[in-house]
Symmetry: C2
């Protein structure tokens, strides 16, 4: 038995930089953003991407996981940091919309591996529905939201609003999501 040597620290840093850069690029240019540009933004070579994430799907999945986690953790901390629960909800939804770009791209990137996709989807629901629920409950208790919409229902609605062909300038998901949220408020 040989003890496995841990990952080198610079390698770990590169992986983080890569994930951050990929997340940005996905937002700006979709999940089909050129490998070269992602590498350039992260300040690494293309070889480094291929070593860490052999296929595009691997990279998308990794970003997906990071974002699910970030989204899940952001819920409680926003709730604690903001005066208004509704404001926290708004900011959280904004993060959630960012994340949906990756999520929708995921299906496209995982053309084969359907079972893997469903596993990730289950993870996503399990992790985020309660977070959204807490935000909604808090906002409702503060009388900032009157609708008794269920968390999953809201998330699905937002998700559907974000289904769009990339590069269509006549459709702005974020605007519609904003309108939806305003609809939740007491007037």
């Amino acid at each position: 038995m040989e003890a496995v040597r841990g990952k080198r620290s610079d390698a770990m840093r590169n992986e983080q930089k890569l994930l951050a850069a990929a997340a940005e690029m996905f937002l700006e240019a979709g999940v089909d953003a050129p490998i070269r540009e992602i590498a350039a933004r992260a300040g690494v070579g293309t070889g480094t991407i291929y070593r860490n994430f052999p296929t595009r799907a691997d990279l998308v999945i990794a970003v997906y996981k990071v974002q699910v986690e970030a989204c899940a953790e952001a819920g409680p901390s926003l709730l604690a940091a903001r005066e208004s629960a509704f404001e926290a909800l708004e900011e959280w939804v904004d993060l959630f919309v960012d994340f949906l770009v990756t999520k929708h791209g995921l299906a496209h990137a995982m053309q084969s591996d359907m079972s893997g996709f469903e596993a990730l989807h289950a993870y996503f629901l399990e992790r985020l529905v309660p977070v959204c629920g807490d935000l909604l409950t808090a906002a409702t208790k503060a009388d900032e939201v009157v609708s008794d919409i269920k968390p999953l229902e809201l998330m699905r609605g937002i998700g559907n609003l974000c289904i769009t062909r990339e590069g269509d300038p006549t459709y702005n998901p974020r605007h519609l999501v904003d309108l939806l949220l305003r609809g939740l408020q007491a007037h």
Copy 2:
């Protein structure tokens, strides 16, 4: 007023060869089949494709129209040529499944132009639902089909069975469509 000179005969021939080759390639390799290969199969240069069909969507649309028409015309003639109405239905559905590959690819190829896509979809329904209806009616009258399924319902069912990520070897739409048709039969 200048009289417009008609299209040259060799140009017309090339357009036909191109449409036939493209239809084959779409079936074998999906609507993203390389331009070069389509051109090679048709025995023309890539330039010829770009002159006739400036964008990939143009080519897909042209193939789509040809196939809707072929499918529509095949209905009555199969009904006349075959002994059994059910057999005619089976063969027609087989053509229909071929066509669906192009149809589903169409949505992908027309990422922008959604209104144009819906126009084509309306044309498709208008033209094919009655044809499918005639085949169903004939098979029902011959007591070869017992279900009273509506044409549109059947076509939607088949269409949904054919939704699959290309290159997934674990899912064979044709097999499932076959099972569906068997379900229509009296036993």
